[in-house]
Symmetry: C2
Subunit: 103 residues, 2 copies
């Protein structure tokens, strides 16, 4: 089972959309951050500050990235979101994800 | 903001009740474990192996512990569950929790 080792984790959840999206923030020794998050079925739009790498660990969704059409993403796949952008997801089945904040 | 420091965290979520309850497993240097979890409104029954300390970080719920009546629990409160037992929760508002597995 894959683990992140020797990290700090913020105890309180990040809560979005009445909790239908929730995540935990992990801080690595080098100061970099990821969130491990979970999304119930629904449609969600998020705004980025830093560019993000979204890895889908479980579930199925469609994503709308800037300048693209809707595309299907499944467990084991990932996508990049530019910084200072908006992106939308239609989550079809409950989805587990890891979001890395890139600099 | 409260953090757990120098811990390992399992990347994949633990998923229960179609994802309406989801959690992440944290392993401490001494081998002890906690889960940080999130529950959407609903009614859930869980079974314990080890005794558990459940701290409610956000939200409101009622809990039914072995040998007790339903009791209300709110953010900032906690309850203990014996090992090898079943307990039920009626989650009224999306609830963030920290579960410590005791030995």
């Amino acid at each position: 089972m894959s683990e992140f080792k020797n990290v700090n984790i913020v105890k309180q959840a990040n809560i979005y959309f009445d909790g239908k999206v929730n995540s935990r923030t992990i801080v690595f020794a080098d100061g970099s951050k990821k969130t491990l998050g979970f999304m119930l079925p629904g449609e969600y739009t998020f705004n980025t500050v830093d560019p993000e790498l979204m890895e889908i660990l479980a579930g199925e969704l469609d994503v709308l990235l800037p300048g693209s059409d809707w595309q299907a993403v499944a467990a084991g796949e990932s996508f990049n979101v530019p910084g200072n952008a908006a992106f939308s997801m239609k989550v079809k089945t409950a989805s587990d994800y890891c979001c890395s904040f890139l600099k």
